[in-house]
């Protein structure tokens, strides 16, 4: 189950509003390669994982992505506070604003609402891990594109942190992949007995 700790994983303190930037950063909240998708992907895949290590990794990275979701939501909230209508129009924030005001809503930068179609949970332990490797790269690229869109150090610091986390997650999924491959190849002995359904693969 989940416990909430009342603090951020990485501090978010953005002194300058920038609704145009909020409109872009929201894509890591509810967009195709964002943290909500990542979190649901890994937490859903957990159930059909086969090795204790890969179950742990899916569980723990899925959980960390929720913390990242909170950071992104916080960034969008702080970037879009206290705006007047002229600022809103000038920033191209008006189409988001009429549907959500200055609230936070899971959608992509283009305004497409979040959908489970953004991720897969295939029930096949190898396929799922390959999906996850790709997902972490997509997220890394997205953070790089977002970082190109601003010079504000208050925004760049959390983005830089989040980008590096994607690289670390990729490494962990890669290690999980090796463990699952060994398990399925039966090259090692594992403490966990192989379930009947996995024999004779």
């Amino acid at each position: 189950m989940w416990i909430y700790e009342k603090k951020q994983e990485f501090p978010v303190k953005i002194k300058t509003q920038n609704p145009a930037l909020a409109k872009l950063i929201i894509t890591q909240y509810g967009g195709p390669d964002g943290e909500l998708g990542a979190s649901l992907r890994y937490l859903s895949q957990r159930y059909s994982a086969v090795t204790p290590q890969s179950k742990a990794i899916l569980n723990d990275i899925g959980t960390e992505e929720l913390a990242h979701l909170e950071m992104i939501g916080t960034m969008c909230h702080q970037l879009s506070r206290d705006l007047d209508p002229d600022e809103i129009k000038k920033a191209g924030f008006d189409s988001y604003f009429v549907d959500h005001g200055c609230g936070v809503y899971p959608a992509s930068a283009a305004g497409v609402p979040f959908t489970a179609a953004y991720f897969q949970s295939k029930g096949d332990p190898l396929t799922d891990l390959y999906e996850n490797l790709a997902a972490e790269q997509k997220a890394r690229s997205t953070y790089e594109y977002l970082m190109k869109m601003t010079d504000d150090p208050d925004v760049l610091e959390p983005l830089r942190f989040l980008r590096e986390r994607e690289i670390v997650h990729f490494q962990r999924f890669g290690e999980a992949l090796e463990g699952v491959r060994e398990y399925l190849d039966q090259k090692r002995q594992f403490v966990m007995p192989m379930p009947e359904s996995m024999k004779d693969k």
């Binding site: 970082m147 830089r160 942190f161 980008r163 590096e164």
Partner: protein, 50 residues
Amino acid sequence: MADCTPFDKTITVTKLAQAYVPIQKLCTLMEPTQALLAGTVFPELVDIYK
């Protein structure tokens, strides 16, 4: 710790049509506050952008 390499430069490939990621080995850890700023406590995983 002098000769610690954080990963093996050769990978044992057991079959085709698979992707292989080298396994990390623990060597050194970053200073704590630097680790938070960098986004990881493992210096070999740091990839600086720009």
